[in-house]
């Protein structure tokens, strides 16, 4: 099936994502966030006490991505990784991505949220902590991306 457009425009996806934040608050009075969903899923997998709704949310994220892939022409099993995959050999790319994931996860948990928890949900509820965190990770990510671009001679 190839039902979805090539890319859902920002003015459709953006309000839709905003409504997800509202729906979770309006119906179950819970804050949308991915970092804690990862953490609670990890606890669940290790047999520790966990918050079930966050694990269900985590499952939903995967299911949603899966359905979108199906509606865009089906699953595509691959080891592609855009420009980064073209420039870095797979044997180095795997540890690099594990390390980047570790850094991201450590930082998100330390900060109390990530792009969804702080960047969309926290900013929408006018939380000062989320505005500060969002400004910081945006500025840092843009800065690091430019440094990478310069350091790789424009390859990235």
């Amino acid at each position: 099936m190839d039902i979805l457009p090539e890319r859902l425009p920002w003015f459709v996806a953006g309000p839709g994502i905003g409504l997800c934040v509202v729906a979770l608050y309006a119906l179950i009075n819970r804050p949308l966030g991915a970092t804690t969903a990862y953490l609670e899923t990890f606890k669940f997998a290790r047999g520790r006490r966990f918050e079930p709704w966050r694990v269900w949310f985590f499952g939903g994220l995967i299911a949603g991505g899966f359905v979108a892939a199906l509606l865009r022409g089906g699953l595509s099993f691959n080891l592609d990784y855009g420009q980064l995959g073209e420039k870095v050999p797979l044997i180095l790319l795997v540890p690099l991505l594990v390390a980047a994931g570790l850094v991201m996860g450590y930082g998100a948990r330390w900060s109390g949220g990530c792009t969804s928890g702080h960047g969309i949900r926290g900013t929408s509820s006018l939380s000062p902590a989320s505005w500060a965190a969002t400004a910081t990770f945006m500025a840092t990510a843009v800065g690091v991306t430019f440094v990478l671009h310069l350091a790789t001679g424009g390859a990235l």
């Binding site: 953006g14 819970r30 953490l39 269900w56 998100a108």
Partner: protein, 139 residues
């Protein structure tokens, strides 16, 4: 509650994937300030949610499955800023973040799973560090 959570998570994951935020090139171009679509998408999400949440708070919304609405509003701490700087560094390198990495994996991209494994490790590690520090006796 769990069913609602699964459905909202599903909608969120679907939209992230349908908007192609699960692709390295989209996030990389955003962070290089070549494409502003993702910034606009975030602004639209906040612009939609913020007034609705404000109205719900003002009307003392009673949720069907979770009692009276209580929005999370936290003061700024050093952890918010230091952690965000670390997070931003990883985000720039990987060109993806927690939800897009899941959507990437769900579409069949094997390297998305590698990022997800790293995310689990990093979140669990920081959680352990925080728990250890909380249990240390204060002088």
């Amino acid at each position: 509650m769990n069913r609602v959570s699964f459905l909202v998570g599903g909608a969120f994951g679907f939209l992230i994937s349908a908007a192609r935020l699960s692709e390295y090139a989209v996030i990389h171009d955003m962070l290089r300030l070549k494409e502003l679509d993702v910034f606009l998408l975030m602004a639209c999400a906040i612009g939609t949610a913020a007034p609705l949440l404000w109205l719900m708070r003002r009307s003392r919304w009673h949720t069907p499955f979770g009692g009276d609405l209580a929005l999370v509003r936290a003061p700024i701490t050093r952890s918010n800023v230091y952690g965000a700087a670390v997070f931003g560094t990883g985000w720039a390198i990987a060109g993806t973040c927690p939800v897009p990495a899941l959507a990437m994996s769900a579409s069949g991209a094997g390297l998305g799973l590698v990022v997800v494994a790293g995310l689990f490790g990093g979140i669990a590690l920081r959680d352990r560090v925080s728990a250890t520090r909380a249990n240390e006796p204060s002088c």
